[in-house]
């Protein structure tokens, strides 16, 4: 069962990674209009960097891992320039009346969120398939 166990572990790590992607996309969406951050700058769009990661198992310790999971390597901030919007009445407007707003593109974030949620579902299906295989193997004994 160890191989199937490693496969479930890989899918579980993917579920964790996709959940992080959704969390980051949601925080980008929530802060799409935040003109003040902790450092006084507007909010910067965040991006998740994923890296492949061998599943921690007995097989992996022996160098025989067949399933490779995924982990969140880093969450980086997008260094693209802020968008500028003319709004002289805004408290954070500069001398020319322009406000620096976060470099978040809302439709892009929504697409990212949907893609992460679909990937989550795909990994859930993979886990369901593996469980089905194990159940059928157990049915051999009946």
């Amino acid at each position: 069962m160890s191989t199937l166990d490693a496969a479930i572990g890989a899918s579980a790590s993917a579920l964790r990674a996709e959940r992080t992607r959704v969390e980051v996309a949601v925080s980008n969406l929530a802060n799409a209009e935040s003109t003040r951050g902790a450092n006084g700058e507007p909010y910067r769009r965040r991006d998740v960097v994923l890296a492949s990661d061998p599943v921690q198992s007995f097989g992996a310790a022996l160098g025989q891992a067949t399933a490779t999971g995924v982990r969140v390597a880093a969450i980086i901030e997008d260094q693209a320039p802020f968008k500028r919007r003319y709004d002289p009445a805004h408290p954070d407007a500069d001398a020319n009346g322009f406000v620096a707003v976060p470099n978040v593109d809302v439709p892009e974030q929504v697409v990212d969120m949907v893609s992460a949620s679909r990937a989550y579902q795909a990994n859930l299906s993979a886990i369901g398939l593996i469980h089905d295989m194990i159940r059928r193997a157990l049915d051999l004994g009946r």
């Binding site: 069962m1 166990d5 479930i8 579980a12 579920l15 964790r16 959940r19 859930l124 886990i127 469980h131 194990i134 159940r135 157990l138 004994g141 009946r142």
Partner: protein, 97 residues
């Protein structure tokens, strides 16, 4: 060409009848079953921890569900092994001597 009867290896006695088969060989069924029961206990404990973590807001829902599923699978496997063992035992007990 003369036929050599004594060269047939399958005609030689293999081992003394009634010798303990488990001497230095495979562990008995009891030990195997005990080991399986231990792993059932372990996976049930892990499932408990995962569910408690989830309730506390520390763990993920999918981690708890996977731990539960794993515990169930281990239990089912153990029950199947036990069923097979009992079946074999009853088969032997029914054998007329």
């Amino acid at each position: 060409m003369p036929i050599q009867f004594d060269s047939a290896p399958s005609l030689r006695p293999t081992s003394a009848v009634g010798a303990p088969a488990a001497a230095g060989g495979a562990p008995g069924f009891g030990a195997t079953l005990e080991k399986m029961l231990q792993s059932v206990d372990e996976s049930a404990g892990a499932a408990n921890v995962a569910v408690a973590d989830m309730v506390d807001g520390k763990g993920d829902v999918h981690d708890a569900m996977l731990a539960l599923q794993r515990a169930e699978t281990t239990l089912q496997l153990t029950v199947q092994v036990r069923n097979k063992l009992m079946q074999a035992y009853q088969e032997i007990m029914r054998m007329p001597v």
